[in-house]
């Protein structure tokens, strides 16, 4: 019961301009099967299709859930929460996801780019919400966590390229200097 007091996200969806999945993540049991998930996505997609959610995030209710959405190019972003959820908290999650994706795809935000960097999108989702609980909403922090693609500092040099080695060395140096 008290769990309900904690703001929670039921799902985050990233669909393309035909309503097909690019990446989706469900955190609640409201949609137990893949077909119920697809049905929800279809209904949300078709009912929001005509709205103009390109400048500001838009909002609507479906099946007693609040859905907040924003579109860019051929990508449709959705965040769903329960009926009683604070709309503005959900909007912050959506904005965090939206902006983080923009940062990661270097402002070239479209379906093709998103699919080509699907690993980044999936990591991004992983950094925003954990099991329904909001982890982080600041887009630059989310993108920062996802983009640390450098080598493990303890890795043996044999696995590293020259540039990576350089970067590691520089990092090492800075750390020693700072500490």
């Amino acid at each position: 019961m008290a769990r309900d007091l904690c703001p929670s996200v039921k799902n985050i969806l990233l669909l393309d301009s035909e309503g097909k999945r690019v990446a989706v993540k469900y955190y609640s049991d409201d949609w137990p099967t893949n077909s119920s998930k697809l049905a929800f996505e279809k209904s949300v997609f078709t009912k929001t299709l005509k709205s103009n959610a390109r400048v500001e995030a838009e909002i609507s209710m479906f099946e007693n859930n609040i859905v907040i959405y924003k579109f860019v190019q051929d990508l449709h972003f959705f965040v769903t929460g329960g009926e009683e959820e604070n709309e503005l908290i959900l909007a912050t999650v959506l904005q965090g996801f939206f902006d983080a994706v923009a940062l990661l795809l270097r402002s070239n935000v479209d379906k093709r780019e998103a699919l080509e960097n699907l690993d980044l999108i999936l990591l991004c989702l992983d950094e925003i919400v954990d099991g329904g609980i909001i982890l982080e909403t600041d887009a630059s922090i989310i993108a920062g966590k996802v983009a640390t693609h450098s080598m493990d500092a303890d890795a043996p040099l044999s696995e590293q390229t020259i540039t990576q080695a350089w970067a590691t060395a520089r990092e090492h140096l800075t750390r020693t200097l700072l500490s």
Partner: protein
């Protein structure tokens, strides 16, 4: 092997449907996953394969148990690589695969190593993965590290541990509860989100300890909470504490209200909104408390962000249901939202306006709604229809334009639910506003001429059969009904035949024509239609002689089946075909489990077609039916009023008893609803011994005890008193439940032979003056007041002493009189120093009473009032003053 992830920039433009995953196939990807076993790992290549696997899972593809195990074991090999990017994909993959317990052991050591890594990213993610896949036994091993992680300097690590704690609390509460010291420390963290997660976990650890939660809230509301999310949490916890402590503080200010109000000035919008919403949802919120919250919500209404406008208008819409006056200030902003691009916002704005608007604005609003109905979805249309229905009941004089609106939208396209909502609304209006009956019935007739929903057609035909014959010109409906017999499916045709018969029974002049029509139905292709026609022709005497329909036939046609359908069904099932015909009187009339909850529902709920009008549509009807079935009460006359149930026992005691007071002209009947909550007991010869020594004018005449009261099957005991005819006698009654108790073996359900006599003290019961007053509203108070004239007017002034607020005083007087407030005058605008309430009711003896009370409050909260009563009888006017004077 091809590398689909490599960009193919050259063919980008001519291939619109390009996707790096085009033609991806599970089998092939699983083959590719073999690269995980290579001695020389290619991190980039491995990442790509994992991405493909994740893509497949994300698209809804599933792996068989064998496939999943294979992938899992292959993925665990990748812990050898030290590439951060690859490791993160490995973490994701393990979480998606949700390995079984014996598989978890394989990765445990790798993950535990990562939990102690110097790299923050490893620590944070390893914690999340491990906690996701672990079970209780493993948890004790890693508990030490988790406690450390909670107070880790790195906020990402701390958050990971705290959030994992929140999840683990569901499965392993006893372990997580041991971390409360560390969590407490994390609440003080400088990192915004750590504080949020720590607060969430700490509250959940302590949620069952009210005192601890209260302390937590007290200390935090004084301190500084950094993150807006944490602040929202704190607001939620605060309102919970307020809710739970509300009973103890009757006077003075609400605890923590200042904190909530302070949050309205927070810089984050989500906090402002959370606080505003919390204030509007406070129990018994006063107008003064509401005002600041309404003000910030009003600002949100004109925001450029749709989400903000939506949140604000949705909250105000809810407020408007209970405090319409408080929201009227926002009406101008609300009206501009009617044309909002976002139709959800527009609908909420319209329905809010319909709730707060006054009579003069109805027509203008209707015009605006008409323009916008065509481009909203059905579910919003239903919301609008419901708002219009309640508006029409509020302003009955406006029924014409509202009814027109409903009939117009009834003609337009729409799904079943929408059409049903409209039809239900029209039916309710017809029932509650007599003037609207004829036009409403005609609208329904037109609708069934072209109605694609069988359910709605039959319901309307049924309703026509009840209401149509009572109109001034019943013959005009016949054509519509008989058309159904020609044009519709068998279900509707049968229903039309029944309706025709009802007209025939009620309107003698129509009888010959009805007979002609019914005879034609004898040739119908459907046997149900033919059967009905034959039956009705016989019962109505269709052999040509036009005789007055006798009472039995009318009962047959119009009377409801006053048997519980469940019992009826069982009896029919038990009936074995024999010489002896089925006797309907053998069906038991006692309802097995009485739906108490339904009876407790306040007031008359508008019931649409869902409940046929002959069924107990309201509690009064239900009671009337119940009482009339008891022969001893048959000569008491018409039931004047039944009170709401009054509890005579504390909640959760051995026997739960509540009582309903039924007032008749010369009698009062107490209906004791008893429930036995002990499975091991059977009560027999249950009766209530009533001591009426403090109710001199009453004398006990009848007691109807209960033969048996088994476990969890409610039963009723009735005790009737005689009192002087038409006199509003009052008094106090003390009650004692007396019974024989028998032990029941719960395994066999059999009761022992011998019982013991016992008694159980119930609380006292009072009959008060308000019991003799019916809450009956008038549509136009001023007209009614003036028509009543000043002949029997009685005016006097009263001091009410110090009161908490004007609202409280107004409510107290309204409850004391038991009258219906008119024109929304039970709501006191915020900060008012004076207020006038208009009340209406019907006093015993069917005397209409109108009351106008002017309240005033002065500095030290002393409330005074001037009470003017008008009725058709001086004595009654005096009696009302008597009630107030003695109350």
């Amino acid at each position: 092997m091809a590398q689909p992830l490599v960009k193919k920039d050259d063919d980008r433009d001519d291939e619109a449907e390009y996707s790096p995953f085009l033609g991806i196939e599970k089998g092939a990807v699983l083959q590719e996953a073999r690269v995980f076993n290579d001695p020389q790992l290619d991190p980039r290549r491995c990442s790509q394969v994992i991405t493909k696997l994740l893509y497949l899972l994300n698209q809804g593809e599933t792996f068989t148990k064998v496939e999943a195990t294979e992938v899992f074991f292959a993925v665990t090999k990748l812990f050898q690589s030290r590439d951060i990017g690859l490791r993160r994909m490995v973490y994701l993959m393990i979480k998606e695969l949700s390995p079984s317990a014996d598989e978890v052991i394989i990765v445990t050591s790798s993950l535990m190593k990562d939990m102690n890594s110097k790299t923050d990213m490893y620590r944070a993610n390893a914690i999340r993965v491990l906690c996701r896949i672990t079970d209780g036994t493993l948890l004790t091993q890693i508990e030490r590290y988790l406690k450390q992680a909670i107070v880790d300097k790195n906020p990402v690590v701390a958050s990971a541990a705290l959030v994992s704690g929140i999840h683990l609390l569901q499965t392993n509460p006893e372990i997580v509860k041991r971390w409360s010291n560390e969590v407490q420390e994390a609440v003080q963290s400088r990192a915004a989100l750590v504080q949020f997660h720590a607060l969430g976990l700490l509250h959940q650890i302590r949620q069952n300890d009210r005192l601890a939660v209260s302390k937590l809230v007290t200390s935090l509301t004084r301190g500084t909470v950094r993150s807006p999310l944490a602040q929202c949490l704190l607001i939620r916890y605060t309102s919970q504490v307020i809710r739970e402590s509300a009973t103890s503080t009757q006077t003075g200010d609400r605890p923590f209200y200042d904190f909530l109000e302070g949050c309205l000035r927070h810089k984050a919008e989500m906090v402002i909104f959370e606080a505003a919403r919390a204030i509007t949802e406070l129990n018994g919120v006063t107008s003064r408390e509401l005002t600041p919250a309404i003000t910030v919500l009003q600002l949100f209404l004109s925001s450029s962000k749709p989400v903000l406008r939506f949140a604000a208008v949705r909250t105000l819409n809810k407020v408007a249901m209970t405090h319409p006056m408080a929201v009227t200030n926002c009406n101008i902003d609300m009206e501009s939202l009617i044309s909002d691009q976002n139709r959800s916002i527009a609908t909420l704005a319209i329905t809010t306006l319909l709730k707060t608007g006054n009579e003069s604005s109805v027509e203008r609003l209707m015009k605006q709604i008409t323009n916008f109905m065509s481009d909203i979805a059905d579910e919003f249309k239903i919301v609008v229809v419901e708002a219009i229905r309640s508006l029409c009941l509020k302003f009955p004089l406006k029924y014409r334009s509202l009814m027109n609106f409903l009939s117009n939208i009834l003609r337009e396209e729409g799904g079943f639910e929408y059409k049903k909502a409209i039809v239900d609304s029209i039916v309710i209006l017809i029932r509650d506003i007599p003037d609207a009956k004829e036009s409403g019935l005609l609208h329904l007739c037109e609708f069934i001429e072209d109605c694609e929903f069988t359910y709605l057609s039959t319901q309307i035909l049924h309703f026509l059969g009840i209401e149509g014959p009572k109109t001034s010109d019943p013959s005009k409906y016949i054509r519509y009904i008989y058309n159904r017999v020609h044009l519709e499916n068998a279900t509707v045709r049968a229903s039309a035949v029944s309706t025709l018969a009802k007209f025939g029974a009620m309107v003698d002049s129509l009888k010959p024509r009805i007979f002609v029509l019914l005879r034609r139905c004898l040739f119908d292709s459907d046997d149900e239609v033919r059967d009905r026609a034959t039956l009705y022709l016989n019962t109505l005497g269709g052999d040509g002689s036009v005789v007055e329909t006798d009472k039995d036939v009318k009962d047959f046609l119009f009377g409801s089946l006053d048997l519980p359908l469940v019992n009826f069904e069982t009896s029919l099932k038990n009936y074995e075909p024999s010489e002896e015909p089925f006797d309907i009187n053998s069906v038991p009339k006692e309802i097995k489990s009485q739906p108490l909850a339904e009876k407790k529902a306040p007031g008359k709920k508008p019931t649409g077609l869902g409940a046929p009008p002959t069924a107990p549509a309201s509690t009064v009807d239900a009671y009337e039916k119940l009482l009339s079935a008891i022969p001893e009460f048959a000569d008491f006359g018409k039931l004047f009023k039944s009170s709401a149930p009054v509890e005579l026992t504390e909640a959760e005691t051995e026997y739960s008893v509540n009582v309903v007071k039924h007032i008749f002209d010369g009698h009062v009947v107490f209906q004791y609803n008893c429930t036995n909550t002990i499975p091991e007991q059977l009560l027999e010869q249950v009766t209530v011994v009533v001591d009426a020594s403090e109710a001199e004018e009453f004398s006990q005449v009848v007691t109807k005890p209960l033969r048996a009261l088994p476990y969890d099957t409610p039963g009723q005991i009735f005790v009737a008193f005689e009192k002087p005819e038409g006199v509003p006698a009052v008094g106090k009654f003390s009650n004692m439940l007396r019974f024989t108790v028998k032990e029941v073996d719960t395994t066999t359900g059999e009761a022992e032979e011998d019982g013991v006599e016992d008694e159980y003290q119930l609380e006292d019961l009072e009959v008060v003056a308000a019991d003799y007053m019916l809450r009956v509203g008038v549509s136009n108070f001023r007209n009614a007041w003036e028509n009543m004239g000043a002949d029997c007017e009685r005016v006097d002034e009263y001091g009410l002493g110090p009161r908490e607020s004007l609202t409280e005083a107004v409510n107290a007087v309204i409850n004391l009189l038991g009258m219906q407030p008119c024109e929304g005058t039970e709501v006191v605008p915020s900060n008012s120093r004076s207020h006038t309430s208009l009340l209406s009711g019907v006093y015993i003896g069917n005397v209409r009473v109108l009351v106008r009370i002017a309240f005033g409050i002065d500095g030290p909260k002393e409330v005074a009032m001037k009470l003017a009563v008008r009725s058709e009888d001086e004595a009654v006017s005096d009696a009302i003053h008597e009630i107030v004077a003695s109350g």
